[in-house]
Each structure stands twice: as structure tokens, then as C-alpha cells.
Amino acid sequence: MMGLAVALLRSGWKIGRSRGSIRVAIGWTVLVVSLNLLVSALGTLVGLTIATLAFSICGYGAVILNSERRPLRKARARISSQDACPQTRSNGWGRGSAAFLLAMIAALAVGAAAAGLPIGLPVNRVTLFGLVLPFFWAGLIIWVLSEARLGRPVLGLCAIIGASGVIIAIEVLA
């Protein structure tokens, strides 16, 4: 079923957005139905994981079937062009420190502040925020590395750390 879903998506996207939208919609529907079947047959975690594996492998299969071969061509060397390479970025060490150290402190502070909120069992809060925290942390790293000016994310991270610190202090003292 996962293969059918991927095949429908492939044919839908191939013929274009206007005419292929029905196939794409059916493809997504089949994908959701097969996911549901796997989850009900194997349990939530195992079902979701097997669905993930099947989705990826079917997708790779469809991409290989769709691949095209072109004659080898050497690109002409240019002297300059618009580029997003690290040389256009100043403050390499500062940016790196902010991305890894400051973002880590901010993410951990937010996690600690969130885990102290009086909602549900502590173990569930620790797990939930433990699983969400890496995404937040990764988002902060992307923010620091993507901003043209380093000052804005640094100030933002300091503000996040400060706010989290206040919340943690209130939680601990309460």
C-alpha cells in the first residue's frame, strides 16, 4: 500500500499541479490509511517506525525508476558568483560559540522551565519536553547561523535564557 501511495504521488506530481492534484490527494489518503493499518496491526511505535522505513524505501525505489541519464558535462569555471558559502560570513568563532554554547544553554533552560510546569506527571513532562527539546535546540542553531547579523540572535538567546531563569526561580521557590 505504501508503494501504491508513493506511485500515486509520483504520477500526480509528474503531470503537474492542476491535473495531478486528484492523484496526489488519493496518494496522501492511501499513505494515511496504510499508516493507520500498520499502527493498528503492530502498535503505535512499531507501526509508525515500520511505516517510516517502508515510506523511505518505496520513495527511493520510485526515484530510481524515475532517474534520467545525461551526457557528462564539465561546468565552466566562473570567477565570482552569488554564494552562500562561509567566507561571506564574519565572526566565525563568535557565531559558532553562539550557535553551540548559547543555543545549548537557552534550550536547556527552556526545557528545565517547561518541565517544572505543574501539568501532568513529572515523568511524562520530562519525556515530552526531552523529545521536543532537540527540535527547539536545533531551531535555535539554525537561527544563529542563518541571521546576517549576529547581534539579533545573541540578544534573543540571552532574553530566552533570562526569561527561563525567572520561571525556573519561581518554580523552585514555589
Partner: protein
């Protein structure tokens, strides 16, 4: 890396071009900074998925069993306790299973000896467990051979960086759906590598996020858990650990007592959980009145890594999933290791994990290749860095094969030293005068050659004495892998 867009298409973009450019810039910087470590962790991880099979491959001569009797367990426990004492106050047995058909006994440490032994069907110790190459790879993946806690945290941080790369990769690719099936081979190298990078990344994304998230939480657990437990449990770390992993210590009665027979405990377990498959038995504080017996089992339809019953010496159950049902959070946390390593669904799941793990290595490597090609297109090539990357991408598999050959030559204890020396030699080769194209091809041939030597040396070492057919299956797989790499090296040489 994308073809120019028409005005109409540009308007239809979901994300502003400036935002996409900024995220792509961050993606490049982060990728350049950590890709070598990500590659090392992903490559070792793709192999470690098969750790149980590799352990059987490294030591195929011990008895292969499907089950053992309670009397054999009793005898095995007595023998290992007499031989090696108790490790951290515990002795344990791992029972034969489909994934690992060995009866393994684990005791304390013995000076100059092993604390893990393979036993026969009667519980007699046969030979010490020895799989240095697998142990080397597992430690490399888990903590990069750094001091345990620090290494785990470093791997966790690399996991966060990989997660950031995955998310920024999606944000930096606005035509992710429209180009979901486009793979152009040949043409310009940059376009080819960009297609490969984007397609492998797009379709593998759910799996990549799954293993990266689980790996990050496992690696950086103490880092994250410390702060969160401080507020969630108001600093009561003991309570936090007890809620997550269960009771930490058994009763503190150290008066001498005999190790009880396991038969009644196993019967009691079977009566309570008829569908359960008992995986291992552990005795805390053996030969004392306070000794407790823990039975770890695999329940039908459960992924949790830590399903267990704890009995006191008198046979009373003191902890079980029925007495203390796990909360959703605890079950989720204990499900992370099997989810991360793919140790839950049999060989097909492991093969899928292994292949997708290699796909993540290819994504990492092609990301670097795109950057090198872009630099060349701009007239600013970085040949030294290209060679450095080739040495990393092809040197590491060659070194892994070399490290696995050493125990076959009787060298068991120097895997890490050999890895450090070989890694240094591989990077020293970057400075040689070998032309760039030959440099890459030579590395590919080295990997193929070392893998072939590994499989042949293994067959020669174990032919006639191996009892586990897994050894031949792995040798065949290694030879097939060597053949595939040799074909790719040959094609590359022809193209050059």
C-alpha cells in the same frame, strides 16, 4: 543548485527567497563544521545495527543453542560466580534467542581475564566472549571512545547539529515536493550530486529524524535530564531515576545465603506472562539474604527495552509491569534504544535500518561534494579539502575493515590504537603527490581490497570450527559489498 524560476513560479514560493538563502547559508556552515563527525557516527551506526550478528560472526565457534534448561542456568550462575565474582554486586545470564543463539554468563571482573563467558547447553563455561571489532565500533558510535559521559554528550551534541541540518535542509529546499522524484545522473557534477543529496534526504527524512532524535536523546540524556529533573522533581534525582528505570537497589541484608534455583522463578514468570520470552536473568547481591532476581523479558507487541519482573530471594514479586505499570513517559523513554538501533523487528528491519543508515552517510558526503563542486564552478577550488574529505569518506570504511582483520591475526587489544594510527596515515596521504582522480579511485580500491581480505581471512580462520552459520552469511555480505565498491571504483576510473 536549482534551475532559474519563472516569475509565476517565484510568486508561488511558500518561503521568501531571502529566507531560503539565509537558511541555506546556515546549512552550509553547519555541514562544513560537523560533517566529518556526523559521517563517522552514521557510518559506525549503520554497521552497529548488525552488532548482534557481528558478534556471532567474530566468534562463530561457541555452542549454538535455541534454549537452555533451568538446571543449566543454575550451574552456569554457580560457575560464573566462582570464576569471576559479581560485577557491581550482580551476576547475570543472557539466554539464547533468535537474534543471539548463545548462552552467555556475566560476572565481575577478573584480573587479566574476561567477565563474560559463553556456556554450553549444560551451563559449563566454554570460552570467554571476545568480539573486539564489534566492541570497538559500538564504542565509536556511542561515545567516540571518549570518556563515557563526556563522549555520550559530544555524540548527543552532534545529533542536535544533524537535526538542525535536517530541518534547515527542508527549509532550504522550497521545491521539495515538485522535485521529489527527479534524479538526473550525468550532466554537471554539481547538479547530479544536488539531486542525489536532495532525493536521498527527502525520502529518508522521516527515518533520519527518527534515528537522530532518538540518538540525541540517548546521547544528551544526562545533559537534558539534569535540568529537567531539577525542576520537575524539585531536585530529587533519586525519585526521578526510580520513576524512570524502576527500583534502584535491593534489600540491604548482606548475611550469607545460597543462590536459589532458578526453576521456580522461571515457572512463576511463565505463569504470569505466558506469551513473554525471557531474555536474561540477573541476580543482585548473590549469596546474600538480600539477593534479588530480575527477569527481563520481551512482551508481545511491546517495544520497551526494560520489561522486567523483580523477585526477592523467597520468590515474592517486588516489582513488575502489573504491580507498577509504567507511565507513558517511561515507556517512551525505554523504547528509545530499540527504536534507535532497529533491534525490534527481525532481520528485514535491521537491513532497512542499515541501508537507510548508509543513505544518511551518502547524504552527508554528497553535501560536501556539492560544496566542493560549487567552489570549483566559482573558480575557487579547494583541492586539499576535497582530498581530506575523500580520505574521510573512503578512509574510514577501509580502516574499519583493517581493525576487523587484526583479531583474525591474533591482535585482540589494540583496535583503538590501530584506528588512531591508520586515521593519521590516511590523512597523511592527503599530502602526497598522487593526482586527485587517482587519489579517490585508490581509496575506493583500498576499501574493496581490505573488505575482500577481511572476508577471506575470516573464512580461512574459522573454516572447520565455526558452528554458527551467521559467520558465512556475513562473509558473503562483506564480499558482495567489496564487489560493489570495486565496480564503482572501476566505473570511476573509466569516467576519469
Amino acid at each position: 543548485m536549482n534551475a532559474p524560476l519563472s516569475e509565476k513560479q517565484r510568486r508561488k514560493r511558500l518561503l521568501p527567497t531571502a529566507f531560503v538563502g539565509a537558511v541555506l547559508s546556515g546549512h552550509s556552515v553547519l555541514g562544513l563544521a560537523v560533517s566529518a563527525l556526523i559521517y563517522l557516527i552514521c557510518l559506525s551506526g549503520a554497521i552497529v545495527v548488525f552488532a548482534q550478528e557481528l558478534e556471532r560472526w567474530e566468534q562463530p565457534a561457541g555452542p549454538v543453542l535455541t534454549s537452555v534448561t533451568p538446571a543449566a542456568i543454575d550451574r552456569g550462575l554457580s560457575e560464573i560466580y566462582a570464576k569471576a565474582g559479581s560485577a557491581g554486586g550482580a551476576i547475570s545470564v543472557q539466554l539464547p534467542s533468535g537474534a543471539s543463539p548463545r548462552f552467555v554468563l556475566i560476572g565481575g571482573s577478573v584480573e587479566g581475564g574476561s567477565n563474560k563467558w559463553i556456556a554450553d547447553a549444560n551451563g559449563r563455561l566454554v570460552e570467554p566472549v571476545a568480539h573486539p571489532a564489534t566492541d570497538f565500533l559500538v564504542a565509536l558510535h556511542a561515545n567516540l571512545h571518549l570518556p563515557r559521559i563526556f563522549g555520550l554528550a559530544v555524540v548527543g551534541l552532534i545529533g542536535v547539529a544533524l537535526l538542525a541540518l535536517l530541518i534547515s535542509g527542508v527549509l532550504a529546499h522550497p521545491r521539495i515536493f515538485r522535485e521529489a522524484f527527479t534524479l538526473r545522473r550525468g550532466g554537471s557534477l554539481r547538479l547530479q550530486e544536488a539531486d542525489l543529496h536532495n532525493r536521498l534526504g527527502t525520502w529518508g527524512m522521516p527515518f533520519f529524524i527518527l534515528v537522530t532524535l532518538t540518538g540525541t536523546v540517548l546521547g544528551a540524556f544526562l545533559l537534558m535530564f539534569g535540568g529537567m529533573a531539577a525542576t520537575a522533581y524539585k531536585g530529587d534525582f533519586r525519585r526521578a531515576l526510580t520513576e524512570i528505570v524502576g527500583p534502584l537497589e535491593s534489600r540491604e541484608d548482606r548475611k550469607p545465603a545460597a543462590i536459589p534455583s532458578m526453576a521456580p522463578f522461571l515457572a512463576s514468570m511463565k505463569a504470569r506472562e505466558p506469551a513473554a520470552q525471557i531474555q536474561s536473568v540477573e541476580i543482585q547481591h548473590p549469596e546474600t539474604r538480600g539477593q534479588s532476581i530480575t527477569m527481563f523479558f520481551e512482551g508481545a507487541g511491546r517495544l520497551s527495552h526494560d520489561q522486567r519482573y523483580i523477585f526477592d530471594a523467597g520468590g515474592q514479586v517486588t516489582s513488575s509491569p502489573r504491580i507498577q505499570p509504567r507511565s507513558l513517559g517511561t515507556r517512551a523513554l525505554l523504547s528509545l534504544p530499540p527504536l534507535h538501533f532497529g533491534w525490534f523487528g527481525g532481520p528485514a528491519t535491521k537491513i532497512a535500518y542499515g541501508l537507510l543508515g548508509i543513505a544518511l552517510c551518502v547524504v552527508t558526503s554528497s553535501g560536501m561534494t556539492i560544496w566542493f563542486a560549487r567552489r570549483r564552478d566559482q573558480g575557487r577550488p579547494v583541492p586539499a579539502w576535497e582530498r581530506f574529505w575523500t580520505a574521510t569518506a573512503w578512509g574510514q570504511p577501509a580502516i574499519f575493515a583493517f581493525v576487523a582483520i587484526l583479531p583474525l591475526m591474533g591482535i585482540h587489544d589494540h583496535s583503538l590504537f590501530a584506528w588512531i594510527v591508520m586515521t593519521a596515515l590516511v590523512y597523511a596521504a592527503v599530502c602526497t603527490a598522487l593526482p586527485d582522480k587517482i587519489f579517490g579511485v585508490a581509496f575506493r580500491w583500498s576499501v574493496a581490497l581490505l573488505m575482500a581480505v577481511l572476508a577471506i581471512a575470516h573464512v580461512m580462520r574459522w573454516i572447520g570450527t565455526a558452528q554458527d552459520s551467521m559467520a558465512w552469511a556475513i562473509d558473503t555480505a562483506i564480499l558482495a559489498g567489496a564487489g560493489l565498491i570495486a565496480v564503482s571504483a572501476k566505473r570511476r576510473r573509466c569516467a576519469a
